[in-house]
Symmetry: C2
Subunit: 261 residues, 2 copies
């Protein structure tokens, strides 16, 4: 089975993209709603949580692991790879690959949580591959709670998005990476505020392409994965609000299963 984890239910946007791309594969999702969010917490704490999350999925039968959370991808990928001997995918590299492999992006903006932006992972990876690209970042910490409130198209949300994107607009970026799994839910507002000519890269979409290519090229692994098209969604805490929002993002999430930490 393919296991995906996230700090909460935002990573369901990644699960959604993966299901669309690989509909026949069995997928396990774990959202750490009891300790969400991760983006405001320290790297040490996020690493500890990420390792615990991965263990939960592996115990449930995951054979490959997808880190469906930009914060955890930014700070915990290396430790996860040291701890678990299995294919591990994260959301950063595919988005970076998309940026560096075409000649369009010369001025790239990255938005994410404070932890993701402070980790410098996106910036370092882009600079290593393409020193000619100018990278600008903006932490957008309030977008996660706004999405979790379901305020997807409110005036307040538009105003806050505009304020966050303003410094990137001044830098005249041509490409913007959505470096947080919650942000695809605000994609239209983000596109409107940053301008139509800016290409938006949704890290959940680039990631699912990468997983698909990997499985196509590694049939010995792909053959071992079960393919009944089942999707189970586990969370560490359930409230009515969490259940409702989860179903809004992904229809398969209409029956969350509780795992006590």
């Amino acid at each position: 089975m393919i296991g995906i984890f996230d700090s909460g239910i935002g990573g369901l946007t990644v699960a959604r993209a993966l299901i669309k791309c690989l509909p026949e594969y069995d997928i396990l999702y774990f959202g750490d709603t009891a300790r969400t969010p991760y983006g405001t917490k320290s790297p040490e704490t996020v690493i500890q949580y990420a390792i615990e999350d991965a263990k939960i999925l592996i115990e449930k039968g995951a054979q490959i692991l997808v880190v469906g959370c930009n914060t955890a991808s930014s700070v915990a990928t290396e430790k996860l790879r040291e701890s678990f001997d299995m294919p591990i995918f994260e959301v950063i590299s595919p988005a970076v690959h998309e940026v560096v492999s075409n000649n369009r992006g010369k001025r790239v903006g990255i938005i994410g949580t404070r932890a993701t932006v402070n980790s410098n992972v996106y910036q370092d990876k882009i600079k290593a591959a393409r020193p000619d690209i100018k990278v600008f970042t903006a932490p957008c910490p309030l977008l996660v709670p706004l999405v979790e409130e379901g305020w997807l198209n409110r005036g307040e949300t538009r105003k806050i998005v505009k304020r966050y994107l303003y410094p990137l607009k001044l830098k005249q970026i041509d490409t913007l990476i959505l470096g947080c799994t919650h942000y695809p839910l605000l994609k239209e507002i983000i596109q409107a505020k940053i301008g139509k000519r800016v290409k938006i890269i949704d890290s959940s979409e680039t990631l699912s392409g990468t997983v698909k290519n990997f499985l196509a090229g590694n049939t010995h692994i792909a053959n071992r994965l079960s393919k009944k098209g089942t999707h189970r969604i586990f969370v560490s805490d359930i409230t009515n609000h969490i259940q409702k929002l989860a179903s809004t993002i992904l229809k398969d999430a209409n029956k969350l299963e509780h795992i006590k930490l």
Copy 2:
């Protein structure tokens, strides 16, 4: 020593009020920044966390316990009293006492996290004492992240406060309970938006009066508590941002100490 805990650093407003009221007493504070916030989580999860938080403070030497968090006070007080044989204070009852013991409030508004409002604790306690009082509630989930971002006087914050308070304004409330320890930091905006004639009850201030009265009336307990005027602030996670915001709320919090959960 007097132990106070909160889901994060918002409860430092309670510590601040307590220190002002009882400057000679030694105070231990624990903020669960590794799992903050509590207000979006289920009662079961909040109860589990509250019991763990109390154990940490008791191990460090706390002899009386203050639940400096409205969410934990709302859902976990009973379980805490079953689990620990010591004086335990919470933030709800003092604010309710203030409302029911004067003749002014006939139409009372309560704002808090979703967990606090859904618990119905404020409503039930007020109704039990004074069935003539009409109670209206409004969950304000985004105010906690706004305060934690330090957006204390931004246009966006004012707009969101106005939107949240609008239904209470329509109900023509005469009294408003700030049912979350973060909200005193937005008191001026809240007063401006709800109207000057509405009396605002700050649950951190009413609580510290209650603790002071208790100690004055129970000298055998007061005598056992150490009084060197020391204040130690523990948190389960530290980032630069958390450290900076903590110092803004309480000067004594300029050196947070880390406790790993």
